[in-house]
């Protein structure tokens, strides 16, 4: 019971993260707002077009979590770096899965707290999020007309699930632009929809550790 509440909490935790950040972008956000035009236009001029340019704020290197033996990607940070939207491309060699797999995934992660540990280190004690993935290269993902309709109710290629983790950041020298740079190491405990339903229906025989996966990763913010 407690475990399903936890899963529900994880799934719902992504909801507040969709809210816009309260204080507008700052130099640490992924959004660069061109405000220079304000200086050249008078007060009577029409409101300046606020051009917002998104750019990757961080690069990621990860193993595990069901998203690849090795996955690389990048992401954007919002809400004063509390909310990350990541895209990853992972690879699993054939010796571990029968065929070589490529896994494309999107992850949304929200870390509400950041605790400074000295001048260079900061701890994000809790991050919650959700991910979705698509696997290419499966041996038998189902061909058109291979099965009658609804023969298997679940997708062989698409997985989704909650993640929960924490991370530790180390401040690097700031970039020339003044943007803060840092290197973060993180872990994530996750599961997927198929493991979760198996657990949900078998509380006696299965435990949360049975359905847990672990991801370990590095994140370079620049």
């Amino acid at each position: 019971m407690a475990a399903s509440l936890l899963l529900a909490a994880l799934l719902s935790a992504a909801a507040p993260s969709a809210a816009p950040w309260p204080n507008g972008p700052d130099p640490s956000d992924s959004v660069r707002v061109a405000t220079e035009t304000l200086a050249t236009t008078g007060p009577a001029a029409p409101a300046p077009a606020r051009t917002m340019r998104y750019q990757p704020r961080h690069l990621l290197l990860q193993t595990g979590g069901g998203l690849g033996m090795l996955s690389v990607g990048g992401g954007l940070s919002f809400a004063h770096r509390h909310l990350d939207v990541d895209g990853l491309l992972g690879y699993v060699p054939a010796e571990h899965a029968g065929t070589a797999l490529t896994i494309a995934s999107v992850k949304l992660k929200y870390a509400p707290w950041e605790l400074p540990l000295g001048s260079k280190l900061a701890l994000q004690p809790l991050a919650v999020g959700v991910y979705g993935s698509y696997t290419f290269g499966l041996r038998n993902p189902g061909k058109p007309d291979q099965y009658p309709n609804d023969y298997y109710w679940f997708s062989r290629t698409m997985r989704y699930g909650p993640v929960l983790g924490s991370s530790l950041s180390y401040a690097l020298p700031a970039a020339a632009s003044g943007r803060a740079r840092r290197l973060t190491t993180y872990y994530e405990l996750a599961t997927n929809d198929l493991y979760a339903i198996s657990y949900y229906q078998n509380h006696r025989a299965l435990s949360l550790p049975d359905i847990a996966t672990l991801a370990l990763g590095l994140k370079l913010e620049f």
Binding site: G65, M69, G98, P125, T135, R139, S166, S198, P209
Partner: protein
């Protein structure tokens, strides 16, 4: 090194996972379709056959085994089944007629083994259609073993064959009827033969182009006791082709029933239904 040490909840979750027998290596799962498993959950067919060979059945003794199937997503029921089977006297092994997993994932096969390895007797499996979803065929081969195999126990030769034709999109080669005929032609010194497969030949998921040949191979085997199937999740016994060949279908784990099968003489048998 990692910051989980600061969070008691996360730390205990992680330690719990490790204590549950997943090495950190398997916990770092590359994909749900990743089939890596601890050494003691690989090649389970060979390991169970070795256990079976360690308690040989003297010639002439009655054969007695439990017949079940389609464990799929019924882990709680599996726990109860093991408890019940362990109370049955005189059981020599258990036979699971396929669909060990529901989604063809290696971890599911390990979860089923986590229950079935608590049996006092060895258990043997044949691959089911659900075990071939996605990369399940590779996972089954890694965790259990060959898709087609046979063994002799006491006076009986068991031939276990992959009949999940639809998973191969009816390529005309599954089931491997020539292999089956070769197995049936050589009794390896046994007095009688039992064929075990997941999808019964009268089913729509069995390759229709191979159905007649497969049924004929069984019909032309005079020492065949019966063919045993799963897939239909319910018990039945009959002769669907009216050719003298008996087909027995297993209960799924979900049905909370199993069969105790006793075989003696040339091909006499008794099926006893047990609820749990």
């Amino acid at each position: 090194m990692f910051s989980f040490s600061s969070s008691p909840l996360l730390r205990s979750a992680l330690i719990g996972a490790l204590a549950a027998g997943l090495s950190a290596c398997e916990l770092v799962e590359y994909s749900p379709n990743d089939h890596r498993a601890p050494a003691d959950q690989k090649d389970l067919t060979a390991k169970n056959l070795a256990r079976l060979a360690a308690t040989p059945l003297p010639p002439g003794d009655s054969l007695r085994f439990v017949f079940t199937g389609d464990s799929q997503r019924f882990y709680d029921q599996g726990e109860d089944l093991v408890r019940s089977v362990n109370q049955q006297p005189g059981i020599q092994f258990m036979l699971v007629s396929g669909d060990i997993s529901d989604f063809g994932l290696g971890r599911e096969m390990q979860w089923v083994d986590n229950e079935l390895r608590r049996l006092k007797v060895p258990y043997l499996t044949v691959i089911g259609n659900h075990d071939q979803v996605a990369n399940g065929r590779e996972a089954y081969q890694e965790i259990f073993g060959p898709l087609n195999y046979s063994f002799v126990f006491g006076d009986t030769k068991f031939v276990l064959v992959d009949t999940n034709s639809r998973e191969y999109n009816f390529n005309g080669r599954v089931p491997d009827v020539p292999w089956l005929r070769g197995q049936l032609a050589d009794p390896n010194g046994a007095r009688r033969t039992v064929v075990v497969s997941h999808v019964p030949p009268q089913d729509n998921d069995f390759d229709p182009t191979l159905r007649a040949d497969y049924a004929a191979a069984l019909r032309e085997t005079p020492n065949l006791v019966f063919e045993m199937n799963g897939h239909r999740h319910d018990y039945s016994v009959g002769q669907p082709f009216d050719d003298g060949v008996t087909y027995v279908n297993s209960y799924s784990f979900e049905k909370r029933n199993y069969l105790v099968v006793t075989v003696w003489g040339d091909k006499q048998f008794r099926l006893k239904q047990i609820s749990f």
